[in-house]
Symmetry: C2
Subunit: 262 residues, 2 copies
């Protein structure tokens, strides 16, 4: 008990007790200027002046605990969000009550656009791990867009990115085998980790096997078996949620053709 102390990890201010760590806030004042992600997040392509104005409306919330929700299906649409650190899963509930994962979001990626059309979020978004997000109130963003055309244009481009991502997923789901789906997801996550200046080959999956299988339209057993198969073929080294990509080219090749013989 006497051992409790404050420490700093990443951007977080943390109380470390003998048994666990509790994130209590940010270690330093946050701004897009000093954000690791500013090269491809919301600020991308904005000049310093516009960025300053945009900054004023961004609210940095206190970090989310794992499984904590950002917004829920049916909530009135108020804001879009950027992942600052950690990861987010977004999912909707089918008419028959089943959950369907529609996306995973990593640092620098924007989520929440789905609520714009009818002013209520269609999806629920929850943190997969300890996660911090930047909230951008839409009404204010919209006002800013009306006075600064470059921000407006930028915003449209960001929404369109979501369309592109969704359509890539559609193509993946409609026309690929279990192996191709999983290879594709791993390569996609790997690419996105590079943007965080992390290793492209050693990755840590924040989501469970169940969440992966749901996202890809498979079962947990199949995901498990395919990962096992990739490991046996020395494409991967798998240790629970830790994955090392040993042969990225083999995974890429898998996307292009039917699998070579065993």
């Amino acid at each position: 008990m006497a051992a409790d102390r404050f420490i700093i990890e990443r951007d977080f201010l943390i109380i470390e007790t003998t048994v666990k760590k509790i994130i209590v806030g940010f270690a330093k004042p946050l701004s897009c200027h000093n954000c690791r992600m500013n090269n491809f997040c919301l600020p991308l392509g904005l000049d310093a002046d516009d960025l300053d104005k945009l900054e004023e409306l961004i609210e940095r919330k206190k970090p989310l605990q794992p499984r904590e929700g950002v917004f829920f299906s049916g909530d009135p649409f108020t804001s879009i969000y950027a992942v600052r650190s950690g990861s987010i899963k977004s999912f909707c509930i089918d008419p028959d009550g089943r959950e369907q994962v529609t996306g995973f979001y990593f640092p620098g990626e924007i989520f929440g656009w789905d609520g714009l059309a009818d002013e209520h979020y269609q999806n629920t978004a929850i943190a997969l791990e300890t996660t911090s997000v930047c909230e951008i109130p839409y009404e204010q963003l919209d006002d800013l867009g009306n006075s600064i055309p470059s921000i407006q244009k930028h915003m449209m481009r960001l929404i369109s990115r979501e369309i592109n991502a969704d359509q890539r997923l559609i193509a993946l789901l409609a026309g690929n085998s279990a192996q191709q789906k999983i290879a594709s997801l791993l390569l996609s996550i790997s690419d996105r980790l590079v943007k965080q200046k992390l290793s492209s080959t050693r990755l840590w999956l924040p989501m469970s096997r169940g969440e992966i299988s749901n996202y890809l339209g498979l079962t947990v057993e199949t995901v498990s078996r395919v990962l096992g198969h990739f490991q046996r073929k020395k494409y991967l080294a798998v240790n629970k949620k830790e994955i090392e990509i040993l042969d990225k080219q083999a995974l890429r090749d898998l996307m292009l053709s039917a699998e070579e013989v065993e």
Copy 2:
């Protein structure tokens, strides 16, 4: 040969010869005000003044022949399009060269947003039948949006609709059986025909079985068999591309639960 004459069908001016009809243009000056679709197309929610300004930039192109392209994957992004009559299929080419249908668009629906993010269309869009579209040059639309906030807001809402549609398709592809996928598509098309003030039960599919199967991640044979099955169960009457929905509730029930026994 002497029998050639001009006739008018729908909005089209047509030369009728003894053997075939050729569409040569529009029968009357076109405007959103007199468009059958104005209740839920681009104009939705705009007041008369704003609509007038929007109208000025809309180009009504001469009707497209079946299979004719509107834009092609890789083309520079210039415009978005609204279907005025007929239907459009949009598709992309996978890394491995396969075609993947990403959407079907019916009158009043907008397509082309996918090109916004990187200023080149990701998809190719072609007419499934004789089709007329309204072209809205994006640069001008954007300028108009900058001076008229309501148009801006409206535009964002339209893009978000595309996201919602794509995510519904993701959920359909990831978690449903062949029967559920096909039931869902038919119900969706039926709903959209109602907006054209057409029958919700007698419908004509402008796309081939191959295009349906590709869109839903199935094979032509499966589509054919499921339609046959639905016909035997008296859910549908199928005659090539003509479908009559006999038991809409049965199709809806299919979406909610595993199928009842044969």
